[in-house]
Symmetry: C2
Subunit: 209 residues, 2 copies
């Protein structure tokens, strides 16, 4: 440990450095700054590497793809690309309840709630049509959600699910409206899961048939 | 018109002025500045009157109560205190559809959407627990909603309705996520009204009985 750390420290300020525990943090700091300032589309692995004075290959080595780097920079302890498919592993029936419970477990946990609230706040204030929330997190959530549903109306159904979830984000977590903010998670699941389930696989409304 | 306008102009800068077309606008400007800077609780009719250099009685004369002044300052072309009760005039059955349609008509109209978006954006960024959105608009919406429902669980039911509406605000109007942002209003009503109706008067979930 001390050797790797020493190497990273010794290399500081002399251009591209070898990897070390400190290097990883510097890449993350550079990534966070870039995502915040330049948005998702404006951030490249190459520019993050240059900012952290490391080789781009080292960024790939530590973090993988740009999506992986984004999730690491966001510091949320779950990956929607792997977690959402587990919700649908047993099929769409019951997925409304599993998805609502997953959503609440993520947002009720301060470790994930705090970075998510910061991301949502920033994005809701932005006048830019494509925000970090949309190009980063929502895209990573929507793709596996859409893939889990039959094609017909999947786009609209997924958006309706997101609309109910986003409403909980605003009322329960951002504004902390009572009595919703203090409602036990299992009560929220009992009320909201049927909504999510109907959006996922309920019959099409009459006028849309 | 020219006489009243002249009188208001002549009085400018000489302390309390008589009413005139211009005075009304100055009171509104002072009210908007106060609500934005000091919040709802921190705004008083007296301070707004002083800022506009008029007698507090004139503010009451033009605008009525502080709630009325707030709604006028917000410039939305409807009053939730009178509109929400009409939704429930024919009872709770069907109110989910009427409320969803009313909500969409307000938000799809740029005259009300633009000031509302500004209010929501400001409030969602605020770290303050009690925002202008909560103490001002949401309170004026929640009170008649709660009054329209039977007492048991009314508080939670109303919050759940607000959660779905808030989610549409974020996804359809603030983030303008597609395909939801372009969905015809009647399609949104067809999908969302059953959710609102269930929150209003659907059976209690099993675990809450």
């Amino acid at each position: 440990m001390s050797t790797a750390s020493g190497a990273a420290t010794a290399g500081r300020g002399r251009g591209r450095r070898p990897g070390g525990p400190d290097t990883r943090g510097q890449i993350l700091a550079a990534a966070r700054a870039s995502f915040a300032e330049k948005g998702f589309a404006g951030t490249t692995i190459r520019a993050v590497a240059a900012e952290a004075s490391v080789d781009p290959a080292l960024v790939h080595h530590y973090f993988g793809s740009k999506d992986d780097l984004f999730l690491a920079a966001l510091e949320i302890p779950f990956d929607p690309r792997s977690v959402v498919p587990t919700v649908f592993a047993d099929g769409v029936p019951g997925a409304g309840e599993r998805l609502t419970r997953l959503f609440l477990s993520v947002w009720d946990d301060p470790r994930s709630r705090l970075p998510l609230i910061a991301l949502v706040r920033t994005s809701l204030v932005s006048e830019a049509p494509e925000t970090l929330l949309q190009q980063g997190l929502l895209r990573l959530l929507l793709e596996p959600l859409r893939a889990a549903l039959p094609a017909a109306e999947a786009g609209r159904r997924v958006q309706l699910v997101i609309s109910q979830m986003a409403g909980l984000v605003v009322t329960r977590y951002l504004l902390a409206l009572e009595p919703l903010a203090s409602m036990p998670p299992e009560d929220v699941v009992a009320w909201v899961a049927p909504t999510v389930q109907r959006y996922l696989d309920g019959p099409l409304p009459d006028r849309l048939r």
